[in-house]
């Protein structure tokens, strides 16, 4: 395969010029080292393919953690005109509203260490992986529709959430435009038993400590006040329900638009015109699945509060666990962005990319108006995670988006051959990181070395200014499905 010509624009910014079927150029925001990694497979070709989609604005974007995906690359961003553009499940991902939530506690590492093993066991019991199993929360048809329509508002009504949790969630935990009628009965059946479950693969729950505070003012606002403070990070999504929604609409779009299908470079890139019935239906269903994911992370939050209280008694009551923020990194949203000097409504697709809105933006919580929207970047198992805040520069360069994580570099198959789960576990224990997982094989697949260097990925975002560092977090305990 011929290498696609990539030109350097400035430090950490590269471009593939408009050619062939491209409507706009492709911009890659990465260091030379990370760009080289992308050139090893066909991720850049995927970025070029996206540039050829109807109604795309400014440029097709790949961020520094980009790697090969279905249709879009993971780490891809594209904004489409809200009248003449399109919407595509391949630009959102199978796990609709996969995302990250960060919680604060009043505890310190010194208090948690002695009971860490017990804590992980309790968390694992209260928040099961749920693969082929059952959630502790089962919903009737009416309740499931309520969750799909109202998201975290449902959780608030049921006593699983506090108003502050909603205030500190992207979209306040409820996507406007959700339409539960557009979610198929199959998708609903798959999700019915999965609320409050983690799933497997790269999904996890991590007990972390604050390693370093870089921006004190911003950290304070988030309730992150000192080194050694214990935090909890959640990474999961909409489970089988979201996967089925994606799958259902890929099929419907494929059946409805055979003439579009024929011309596509990749089948998973199928789209519907945004103003078509099908485009509107998918958007309604996608928003409903996003609500399901937010509610899932909320139920998990409720269970974390319960678990900490169970282990630490009066030293950590449910009220002592607060919420920093919750961000979606697989989603499409109707937003306003500056396109050639004019404010314009677009459908921003972020697939493996995090929204990173600047201080003062109307869509971010009152508490963060002065500092910008919190952006949480989980590392891989056993490595650091980061909190950043959104910036004006992100609005200018990336439709208000930043990276979402480390990005894989080694296949699961190779990981299983190279690492034994037991060895990875011991290696982590030597570094004082405990792990509780459903299986050892799952641990080997997610060994730290199978991911890109999260430090470098985050550094590129900070140096470019598409988000700015606030704090570095270190893992002490991991729960994995």
């Amino acid at each position: 395969m011929a290498q696609i010509q990539v030109d350097k624009i400035e430090n950490d910014v590269f471009e593939v010029k408009k050619h062939g079927n491209m409507n706009v150029p492709l911009r890659i925001f990465a260091s030379e080292k990370l760009l080289k990694k992308m050139q090893e497979d066909s991720s850049i070709q995927q970025g070029v393919n996206v540039a050829g989609m109807p109604g795309i604005q400014k440029y097709s974007i790949m961020l520094s953690d980009a790697h090969i995906g279905y249709g879009f690359s993971i780490g891809g961003v594209a904004a489409f005109d809200s009248e003449t553009g399109c919407i595509t499940p391949g630009g959102i991902g199978f796990d609709i509203n996969c995302g990250v939530r960060l919680l604060t506690t009043n505890l310190t590492e010194k208090q948690v260490r002695p009971k860490l093993k017990q804590l992980l066991d309790v968390l694992f019991r209260n928040i099961p992986p749920g693969v082929g199993g059952e959630s502790l929360f089962k919903l009737s048809d009416e309740e499931l529709d309520d969750v799909l329509t109202n998201g975290m508002k449902w959780a608030l009504k049921k006593g699983y959430a506090r108003q502050k949790d909603l205030d500190h969630c992207e979209e306040k935990g409820t996507m406007p435009g959700a339409d539960s009628r557009k979610v198929s009965p199959r998708a609903k059946s798959r999700g019915r038993k999965q609320l409050g479950t983690l799933g497997a693969g790269n999904h996890f729950l991590e007990v972390q400590t604050v390693g370093q505070i870089i921006n004190k003012q911003a950290a304070d606002k988030m309730g992150i006040t000192r080194q050694g403070q214990v935090l909890v990070m959640i990474h999961t999504g909409s489970r089988g329900l979201g996967h089925q929604v994606c799958s259902d609409y890929l099929r419907r779009m494929e059946d409805t638009y055979p003439e579009i299908m024929e011309k596509l470079p990749e089948k998973d890139l199928i789209y519907a015109p945004i103003k078509s019935e099908l485009g509107k239906d998918y958007y309604g269903a996608m928003c409903a699945a996003a609500n399901f994911a937010w509610t899932n992370r909320q139920i998990i939050t409720h269970q974390i509060r319960k678990s900490f209280h169970e282990v630490f008694g009066e030293f950590c009551t449910p009220e002592d666990i607060g919420m920093v923020y919750d961000v979606a990194h697989n989603i499409a949203k109707l937003e306003e962005h500056d396109v050639s000097g004019k404010m314009k409504k677009v459908y921003t697709h972020r697939k493996g990319a995090t929204r990173a809105f600047p201080p003062g933006h109307p869509a971010i919580p009152e508490d963060y108006k002065d500092i910008g929207q919190p952006v949480m970047i989980p590392g891989s198992m056993g490595t650091a995670s980061y909190i950043l805040v959104g910036t004006q520069k992100a609005m200018k360069l990336t439709f208000g988006s930043s990276v979402h994580g480390a990005g894989r570099v080694m296949s699961r198959m190779k990981a299983k051959q190279e690492f034994r789960g037991e060895d990875v576990k011991q290696e982590l224990e030597k570094r004082d990181i405990l792990i509780k997982a459903a299986t050892m094989k799952g641990i080997s697949e997610e060994a730290p070395k199978v991911y890109k260097d999260v430090d470098e990925v985050v550094k590129v975002s900070h140096d470019l200014g598409i988000s700015r560092l606030v704090a570095k977090l270190l893992p002490i305990g991991v729960v994995k499905g």
Partner: protein, 146 residues
């Protein structure tokens, strides 16, 4: 039916090829390859039987839907696949030439004390190949999102 499949390199997810003398056999082996990512299929007791029917216009869609139906059974009933008892694919020659797949499968409930080693988000069309002129008879290639 002989179990025949192999896994290929893929950075983020799982890609495999399944083989068979017939299209049916290859489809069946693809299902086993997929479930082998969730549980060691050799350990699954085959106490529960189920039947699956899928209709589609194209073979690729038929394969996608067949595999997705199995994931549906896992999510809704906790069903782990252990064996394909029978599988047939017929084309409706009279009306619209649509394809129908009927399979009888056996397996067990995930609550039966199995070591669940992974989960699957979805079947995908990415790099999907159905090669009916393969040296081994029929080869199907599938990439699943993990």
């Amino acid at each position: 039916m002989e179990k025949r499949f192999k896994y290929l390199e893929h950075t983020a997810d799982s890609k495999f090829q399944a083989f068979g003398k017939t299209l049916e056999e290859a489809f069946g082996n693809a299902a086993l390859a997929m479930f082998n990512e969730i549980v060691d299929i050799n350990t699954v007791r085959c106490d529960v039987q189920k039947s699956i029917e899928v209709i589609a216009k194209k073979k690729t869609t038929l394969l996608y839907e067949f595999l997705e139906n199995l994931l549906y059974l896992l999510d809704t009933e906790g069903f782990l696949l252990g064996k394909i008892l029978s599988i047939s694919i017929k084309s409706d020659e009279v009306e619209d030439r649509s394809l129908s797949l009927n399979a009888v499968i056996a397996g067990d409930s995930a609550s039966g004390g199995y070591e669940v080693i992974g989960a699957i988000k979805s079947v995908t069309y990415s790099d999907m190949i159905i090669d009916e002129k393969h040296e081994k008879g029929v080869m199907v290639q599938v990439l699943i999102d993990i």
